[in-house]
Symmetry: none
Subunit: 234 residues, 2 copies
Amino acid sequence: MSVAQTLDQRIREDIERNIRSGAWRPGDRIPFEHELVAEYGCARATVSKALTALSRAGLIERRRKAGSFVAHPHVQSAVLDVPDIGSVIAARGDAYRFELLKRGERKHAAGDPLEAAGAMLTIEGVHHAAGEPFGHEQRLISLAMVPQARDVDFTAEAPGSWLLGHVPWSEARHRIAAVPADARLARLLGIAPGTACLQLERWTWQLGKEVTWVRQTFPGDRYDLVAQFTPQSR
Amino acid sequence: MSVAQTLDQRIREDIERNIRSGAWRPGDRIPFEHELVAEYGCARATVSKALTALSRAGLIERRRKAGSFVAHPHVQSAVLDVPDIGSVIAARGDAYRFELLKRGERKHAAGDPLEAAGAMLTIEGVHHAAGEPFGHEQRLISLAMVPQARDVDFTAEAPGSWLLGHVPWSEARHRIAAVPADARLARLLGIAPGTACLQLERWTWQLGKEVTWVRQTFPGDRYDLVAQFTPQSR
DNA sequence: GAGTGGTCTAGACCACAAA
DNA sequence: TTGTGGTCTAGACCACTCC
């Protein structure tokens, strides 16, 4: 199953799994570096590399003389999030529906936004709010990471919503741009070609491995993104 | 500035300075690891740590057998950061200029995006990259919070750059949308009316008090926003 | 084949905070 | 004072890729 992996990545993922599973709670001390060195039979620099990465990711906090501890999640800063579009629309008081346009399965191809996936599920659909098109979605799901997605009926539940409920993610990346609607998109969304649209691409990882990529496109007057944050010090 | 600095940080900053200043252009090969080892008289692991950090930050690209190269920057910046547009453009290797269109001072008015400010500085200008318009900026600065802004020459330094260097901030909020360019904006940026543009509004606070508001508008094909993040618990 | 970066080892000294 | 993490050294082997 697991392909070639560096030792520091393996240590990092082992610890990350313990934290995300809840086995290690916020505030718990994780093993000392020298204990991990003994456990993995490796050099201290290798353990330190893994812990440094976890610290930079905000999962642990390291204190001299005391050890390393599972970080208390930040309470204050509402930053970016992976939203469930259905919930957003429902919260607005509109009826929500996901229209599945295409569903397929294929091998990874050169130029795919997911880099290292084997077989992939491809999904295209349109989100509707109050009976009107709200946004378009093109998605890839790694079947190596999420084999159970093969058996899901995405006419009943939007893929984003299903993934949020069934697959944990540990890291995500957004790319946001403004694009004009091309002819096909304009027809699907019921807007004029060239209309300014907000395009959101999102890559999602679980323990360092790609889970899904999605490109969502919304007419500019129907969707805003908001982020509130504090300066980064790390 | 800080005196205590680790060697790998110093190496990293030296290289970063060479890139941002334009001394090393995108595509240029930077010194091999063994050359940097000789230059700094340190171990290869220390050089490698610095280069790994630069690679993760997207400033360089490393290729086996070939060496490390100054990355061709995507024009993108993080959603969770307050970027200095001048630095972003300089990092891309283009000449940067801020064109001040209007500057004024007035009392707070109803409907202003800054709510509780008294006297405010109003600034409008255009960011230029390589001699071409890159983005438009409309800004308000609270003179109650930043009285020294009265005496700054914003034809010499863009207001965003000056503020980042002189006024600390403790909280910021972004609102991102896609909008079509209106006639005036299209003229200022040299684009067709209706062109899809990325519009970024940012409110910045210091210790709970509003410092500045800015609305920046970029043609959609010239600017991306990127955010990388991990889940928030609850 | 040759030379690069990627990773790792088995030490070392230091700064700092906890005991 | 003690033990932890932070940084660094001087090697090593490997994988990849350019020649």
